[in-house]
């Protein structure tokens, strides 16, 4: 009965989403508070029903209820519990359930935290969010129903794709979806405000934390996905310019622009129209990503088994929300009141430059991703736009943006002093150039870009340090006051500095890939292969049986200067019921670098063909992204961006004996 009740609860959530879409909007237009309040209650109830439904599906997975088709297709009774739970979102139907769950979760959070928002704005926002939820729940129920039953009941399920039997599956998709779907809130705020016709500082203050939250999760989601691909696929790379990776990168670039823009809007009441447009575009790119993955227009590690009705349905959703949002924007934007003025050389000006670079980068990625798809659709010619295209377009734009970033960061609001900013940054710039020069002279071999990249990374890190220092240090002040002032800086300032330093760390990690060494070889036991300062010696190859799989394993000793540094095992696994073997890469972390070994083949004579890499500082790529997310988190808990601040400040104002 649980399964059927879960199914019914999902359908009830659909009906409630319809109410949430229509009634509050009606109330908002008619200025009827009772109708507007239906939005909050409907959002909570929808969240309750979808949670119940999701829990019922998870129960079916945990209990291996093979009367549910989705469980039969994607699970197995002998699977470990963790993969039964994460297996729910390993497939198209289940992942759409997770998508919908996060969608209504965000709506419920807005309803909960939005108590201090102007009621008409809240009602419009919830209404738009309700429309998005309605579209996606309808999509799930009609085209991708995870509650479909089978009869007769199969005795056993078909198991989960072995590539997905990994902790990465438990982490990467939920984070990514929190990011993607989180931007739906920014969209709902933008469209809600356009309907409402008022975009003011209150709006900016409320939209900022949601955008930041979504950005934070998307950053983590992309970064974890990258690390997962790095160690699981056995290709040795961490970013492949795969269309699906690009599909997540585009909303991230746009979302990054949006996060910066909302700061300007909140602090300076400027760039409103642009902020609204960015909010619409960011979520549109999230939807585009969903379309690319689920419509079957491409095949990759990410694509789900797809059928055309789903593609058409998502295309309909995409067209409605992107087209509708932009049409509303075109109609309403000219009526918006423009805000604060600022000089070209100012923090605002710098942020506009940042936005332009990010938008241009995003456009480059968009073209590189969609052009091959469009060409294939029109002419049938399959071309591949790979790394060279993106290295020639997106990468230079990002490098220019990053080179400019530390200076922009130090400019004052409203009217900045470029010379003063440059002077403040002299020390940081000097050290960074020195770092590059030292690298150039010390390290031989490798591309010239590598030391320059390390210099750029250093410039970003030092620029952030310098920003914090120059804001805390005053001539003649004691060290104690300096420290006190530094700690007294708003958390948002620390967050920005940390996030920017995090980019620097990632850039150093990327630059260091230039010094990476790779080598190929066919080894017999006892033979060795050299990679840079390390060598791998094949100890033995053997067969191992694990839970549900059989693996040919090659075991290597990693030697450094003749000493034993560690062991790596790499192998080929064949899972029960699957014929495609998967490669298990062997990774040995040494400091911040990694020895990465990936076996190609086991030969009959006991030799093993192998690809091995030494990747110096490679962990910095992901550590940097963690720092970026941590910076976002710090900015989020800044008391200024706390969501209920208006209410609390009002209470404070009352205590101070002022009229609020």
């Amino acid at each position: 009965m649980t399964v059927e009740l879960g199914h019914y609860a999902l359908i009830l959530a659909l009906a409630l989403a319809f109410v949430q879409m229509t009634v509050p909007l009606w109330g908002s237009l008619a200025r009827d508070p009772a109708l507007m309040r239906v939005g909050r209650m409907a959002a909570w109830a929808s969240f309750g029903f979808v949670t119940f439904s999701y829990a019922a599906l998870t129960m079916a997975y945990v209990n291996s209820d093979f009367s549910v088709l989705n469980v039969v297709m994607n699970s197995h009774s002998a699977k470990p519990l963790i993969y039964k739970i994460s297996g729910v979102w390993s497939n198209h139907e289940g992942s759409m359930m997770l998508w919908v769950l996060i969608l209504v979760l965000f709506a419920a959070l807005v309803a909960w935290r939005g108590g201090g928002m102007p009621e008409r704005l809240l009602a419009s926002v919830l209404s738009v969010q309700g429309a998005i939820a309605f579209a996606f729940i309808l999509f799930v129920v009609v085209t991708s129903n995870p509650f479909e039953r089978v009869f007769p009941i199969p005795v056993e399920g078909q198991g989960l794709n072995p590539v997905l039997q990994d902790p990465g599956l438990a982490i990467h998709p939920p984070l990514l979806y929190l990011g993607y779907v989180g931007f739906s809130i920014a969209y709902s705020f933008a469209v809600g405000a356009l309907i409402h016709g008022r975009i003011d500082a209150v709006f900016a203050r409320f939209v900022r934390p949601w955008t930041l939250l979504a950005w934070l999760f998307l950053t983590l989601g992309i970064s974890m996905g990258s690390y997962w691909a790095y160690y699981e696929l056995g290709w040795g790379g961490w970013w492949f310019w795969d269309p699906v990776e690009n599909a997540s990168l585009m909303p991230w670039l746009m979302g990054t622009a949006l996060v910066h823009c909302t700061v300007v809007m909140e602090k300076r009441d400027a760039l409103k129209v642009w902020t609204i447009l960015l909010a619409i575009l960011t979520f549109s790119l999230s939807l585009l990503g969903a379309f690319i993955v689920r419509s079957g227009v491409l095949t990759s590690v990410h694509s789900f088994a797809s059928d055309p009705t789903r593609g058409v349905f998502i295309l309909g959703i995409l067209t409605f929300f992107v087209g509708g949002g932009l049409a509303l924007f075109a109609w309403r934007a000219p009526m918006l009141r423009q805000g604060g003025l600022f000089a070209a050389v100012s923090r605002e000006g710098a942020l506009i430059v940042n936005n332009l670079f990010l938008a241009a980068t995003c456009a480059a990625v968009l073209i590189g991703t969609l052009y091959p798809l469009a060409l294939e659709a029109i002419s049938g010619a399959a071309i591949s736009v790979g790394a060279p295209f993106f290295n020639a377009t997106a990468v230079p734009l990002v490098v220019m943006l990053l080179a400019f970033l530390p200076i922009g960061q130090t400019l004052a609001w409203k009217r900045g002093n470029l010379l003063g900013a440059a002077q403040r940054m002299m020390v940081a710039l000097g050290i960074s150039i020195l770092v590059s020069l030292v690298m150039l002279s010390m390290v031989h071999g490798g591309p010239v870009a590598a030391p320059l990249g390390v210099g750029l990374g250093a410039w970003l890190i030092l620029g952030s340090v310098s920003e914090i220092m120059s804001r805390s240090w005053r001539r003649g002040a004691t060290l104690r006051i300096f420290v006190a002032r530094a700690f007294g800086l708003p958390r948002a300032a620390w967050g920005a500095a940390l996030a920017h330093a995090g980019i620097g760390v990632t850039v150093i990690g990327i630059a260091a890939t230039g010094w990476g060494v790779e080598n190929l070889g066919v080894l017999k036991p006892g033979e060795r292969i050299e990679i840079g300062a390390y060598s791998l010696v094949l100890d033995k190859s053997f067969v191992r049986n694990g839970q549900g799989f059989r693996e040919d394993v090659a075991r290597f000793s990693v030697m450094e200067n003749g000493g034993f540094a560690g062991a790596v095992e790499t192998g080929k696994r064949v899972h029960a019921g699957r014929y495609m073997p998967t490669t298990e890469a062997g990774i040995l972390t040494l400091g911040l670098g990694q020895v990465y070994a990936s076996v190609n083949d086991f030969h009959a004579d006991g030799s093993v063909s192998l690809k091995a890499y030494w990747k110096p500082l490679v962990l910095l790529i992901w550590l940097g992204s963690l720092l970026m997310a941590a910076g976002g988190g710090l900015a989020l808990i800044d008391r200024r961006s706390r969501i209920g601040i208006v209410v609390r400040s009002k209470a404070a104002a009352l205590l101070a004996g002022r009229p609020a």
Binding site: V3, A34, A42, S67, V155
Partner: protein, 353 residues
């Protein structure tokens, strides 16, 4: 139909979620929009300045700016006017909750749902399998038993014919091989293995199957199944007369009610009709085969023999007709009158010197 109770309950909760806020009579909160926001910001700046978080001159500049925005906001006036109260509007919204929510939900669920389907958790299904009597679960149980005890003769004996029945021929071959391994060579299991091989080859008696049947017949020449497939092997070699003779032989001593007899007769009919496989001839062939079988059992019917010869002649099966003449002469050996009639008929048909 216990499920309709919680369904009704859930629907009730959903409807209430819409109706409750509509019942409230409270006024809209007066947010004051930007005005309140900038007032709050002024307070905040003062607080920050008092705690030394911002420099006094910075605080002053920020306050001036916030105050300017505040003035602008006050000039543009408050936005949160409340609309006129309308009972009709609330009733309309209530109707959406009260009618539309259950209708949407029940309509979708009515089409997509399966309210009569119970949950079927794995553990429960396994328990059910242990007591169930349908063929699949029986097979599964025997298979699980055999996986644990591969020397269980009885298990193999049960499962081998079932495999044939459910068209899992390769599994059947393996099962019979297991039986031969456990019981030693015997005609019945050789025949079973041979049959499985033939069915796996879609009816072709392969040379491998032939050898197996030969082994079976070497051990027991009366093994019906082995004889049957050996006859089919002859058919497939093109030796129709030989095959027919074998079938006739098999029918000897088989009661009509025996299922195998029916199969053999059908086979004969097919063989006789094979020369002209049109619809009508199939029926004629069936009748001829029946007659042939009858005469083989009781050869005293003189006219029957003549009819049989004529039929084969009409069907264009000269070899069978001649064969029938030889058999008729043998059957009529004791009756000179019958023999004469047979010979005359053969003369008339143009053969049998």
């Amino acid at each position: 139909m216990l499920i309709w109770l919680p369904i009704a309950l859930l629907t009730g909760v959903a409807v209430l979620a819409v109706l409750l806020p509509l019942g409230s009579r409270s006024k809209a909160r007066d947010e004051g929009g930007d005005v309140a926001f900038y007032r709050a910001r002024l307070t905040e700046i003062e607080g920050d300045a008092a705690r030394g978080l911002i420099e006094p001159q910075d605080a002053e500049a920020a306050k001036i700016e916030a105050a300017r925005f505040l003035l602008a906001a006050e000039r543009s006036g408050p936005d949160e006017r409340e609309g006129a109260f309308s009972l009709g509007r609330r009733r309309g919204a209530a109707l959406i909750g009260l009618v539309l929510v259950p209708v949407i939900a029940l309509a979708f669920y009515g089409v997509l749902g399966a309210p009569d389907r119970a949950d079927a958790p794995y553990a429960e299904q396994q328990a059910l399998l242990k007591t169930s009597t349908d063929i699949d679960s029986l097979m599964l149980r025997v298979e699980q038993q055999l996986a644990a005890h591969p020397d269980d003769v009885k298990g193999w004996q049960v499962i081998a014919p079932i495999y044939l029945e459910v068209a899992r021929y390769n599994d059947a071959v393996k099962a019979y091989l297991q039986l031969l391994r456990l019981k030693g060579p015997n005609a019945a299991d050789f025949s079973g293995q041979g049959e499985a091989l033939v069915l796996a080859a879609e009816g072709v008696v392969t040379s491998e199957a032939r050898q197996v049947f030969e082994q079976a017949l070497a051990l027991d020449g009366t093994q019906l199944r082995a004889r049957y497939y050996s006859a089919i092997a002859l058919e497939q070699d093109g030796d129709r007369v030989g095959a027919l003779a074998r079938y006739r032989e098999m029918l000897q001593g088989l009661p009509d009610t025996n299922g195998a007899a029916g199969a053999i007769r059908a086979r004969m009919a097919a063989l006789i009709g094979a020369a002209e496989p049109s619809g009508q001839n199939a029926m004629i062939a069936g009748m001829v085969a029946q007659l042939d079988a009858k005469l083989e059992a009781d050869g005293s019917d003189r006219d029957g023999w003549i009819k049989l010869m004529r039929s084969y002649q009409v069907l264009g099966q000269r070899a069978n007709a001649e064969d029938a003449l030889v058999r008729a002469r043998k059957a009529m050996a004791s009756s000179s009158e019958g023999l004469a009639a047979i010979n005359a008929a053969a003369q008339e048909l143009g053969f049998g010197n």
